[in-house]
């Protein structure tokens, strides 16, 4: 489309570089609003159109989005904290002290990581309660509910493994108390406890194991399961709504 106006906007958007990245115009028409959804990787998890029921704040309370935002904050602040922290008994505690006292924004970043972790444990649980009390686990969403329960457990494990890392009295005794509970199970208790701690007591081996689980294993599991969780929301027809009760059960739901 030829244009006589040479505004700054058209200078930026009408060239091969811009058009190689954004393959449609500004989403001001319904066609472009649809195209942007399947042209953008960041948006493609969304359907082009959603039930207006989806947008009712009193229905979802935004709990799932809040949980995901908190997880994203945790990934970003967590990666930043890794620059300043070594998981050894000699260094762990002093690293946190240095982080708090001398590194720019160190205290703020650690505070955000800590509070976001606590809030995520709370909001994932509340999200699960919302989904239960609105009956949103029903067909065809049975399996996504199961994935959600696993995500809750992984959230708890992520928070639990991170709890030991500051290596202060609070974290040391919390992990000792928790692993002692595991150790008290009949028959297999001692073996599971040994597997968790890597030694008879909470010590350097436990710190390394918890660190590896916290920064590598569990975040990968979490990320993969979040992907499955979101993808299945699409495949199961978006957010649940009361209009579904009349829908033909045998019809395959895709959106």
């Amino acid at each position: 489309m030829a244009t006589s106006k040479r505004s700054l906007g058209s200078l930026i958007t009408r060239n091969r570089i811009w058009e190689s990245i954004f393959r449609q115009g500004y989403p001001s028409s319904d066609e472009n609003r649809a195209r942007i959804m399947f042209n953008s990787w960041f948006l493609h998890l969304h359907p082009v159109k959603v039930k207006s029921h989806t947008l009712e704040i009193g229905y979802t309370l935004g709990l799932g989005v809040i949980s995901f935002v908190l997880f994203s904050v945790l990934v970003i602040t967590g990666a930043w904290l890794m620059f300043f922290y070594a998981p050894s008994v000699e260094r762990a505690y002093t690293d946190i002290q240095t982080l708090h006292n001398t590194i720019a924004f160190g205290a703020l970043m650690r505070n955000m990581h800590r509070w976001a972790a606590h809030l995520m444990v709370l909001f994932v649980f509340l999200h699960m309660c919302r989904v239960f009390f609105t009956g949103s686990y029903k067909r065809p969403r049975e399996f996504n509910w199961v994935v959600g329960v696993i995500l809750w457990v992984v959230t708890l494990l992520l928070s639990f493994t991170g709890y030991l890392l500051p290596w202060d009295q609070l974290s040391f005794w919390a992990i000792t108390v928790s692993t002692n509970i595991v150790g008290a199970f009949p028959l297999i208790g001692d073996k599971i406890r040994l597997l968790m701690l890597g030694a008879a007591d909470t010590g350097p081996e436990a710190l390394v194991r918890f660190y590896a689980l916290h920064i590598a294993v569990l975040p990968l599991v979490m990320g993969a399961l979040i992907g499955v969780h979101f993808w299945r929301i699409r495949k199961d027809g978006g957010i649940s709504s009361p209009t579904e009760k009349n829908e033909n059960e045998s019809r395959e739901v895709t959106q």
Binding site: R33, W115, G135, V146, D168, A174, T243, E244
Partner: protein, 247 residues
């Protein structure tokens, strides 16, 4: 009408003509009026607002309150009380009243498996998307929550001030296993018998039990967090020893 799944009836005031013959059915056959909006911008604006709101609240929290850092870990100095992270305090509270394997392994595993089983137990779609299933469901949830809260607090007080173990201590299986299982099982059965009086659907029964789970989850955490002092004995929040709240 919004939310109703109306079928378009034949309008006697209109004339219908044959335009073209095609095979198959229209996507709107047997369906009501469409009730959808474009995801851009309606959904995306909401997502951005919730994202920004969450980050702002988190930033303010992080500027006002420092994350805790106590003395360096010292295996020689036991913390008293030694508390787990707050989200495991419900299990630590259970541990005070029964054997470790029951409180730390069997009950959590039953809870997780029970939660996963919910959609395979309640298979009807009749009240999908309705908070607490129905008016009756709301009453059942409220009753079940209050019932659980009162009994749970009474049980915690009983085991602190009268103590099951002062009545019967031997053999270990009686206070550790038999009494807790009989009490929990009996109270669940009693709750079920009472809920049955409403003549509920299967989902409404589940709403009652989930409501009981929800109340247990938080009452146990709050008890252990704010009311357990030296030696994990009950005390009032303003009498807690310093450092008893793990934040």
């Amino acid at each position: 009408m919004r939310g109703e799944n109306q079928v378009f009836p034949k309008d006697p005031a209109k004339t219908y003509g044959l335009m073209e013959l095609v095979k198959g059915t229209s996507p709107m056959v047997d369906k009501g009026p469409e009730d959808t909006v474009m995801a851009w911008p309606n959904l995306l604006i909401l997502e951005i607002v919730v994202t920004l709101g969450t980050v702002v609240v988190l930033l303010i929290m992080s500027l006002l309150f420092n994350a805790p850092l106590r003395e360096p870990a010292n295996p020689g100095v036991t913390e008293n009380p030694a508390k787990a992270a707050w989200y495991f305090l419900n299990l630590q509270e259970l541990l005070l009243h029964m054997s470790a394997a029951l409180a730390g392994l069997i009950i959590p595993v039953l809870v997780i498996v029970g939660l996963m089983a919910i959609p395979y137990v309640d298979r009807s779609k009749s009240d999908v998307g309705v908070w607490f299933a129905s008016k009756k469901g709301k009453r059942i949830a409220a009753f079940s929550g209050i019932y659980t809260g009162i009994i749970l607090i009474a049980l915690i007080l009983f085991d602190e001030f009268i103590r099951v173990r002062s009545i019967i201590n031997q053999p270990e299986a009686v206070p550790g296993w038999i009494i807790p299982i009989v009490v929990i099982g009996g109270l669940c059965f009693l709750l079920y018998v009472i809920i049955r009086k409403w003549q509920p659907t299967r989902r409404e029964v589940l709403v009652g039990f989930f409501s009981a789970f929800f109340v247990c989850y938080f009452v146990l955490i709050l008890t252990s967090l704010f009311f357990r002092g030296y030696g994990m004995h009950l005390t009032l929040p303003w009498h807690l020893p310093p450092g008893a709240i793990p934040f």
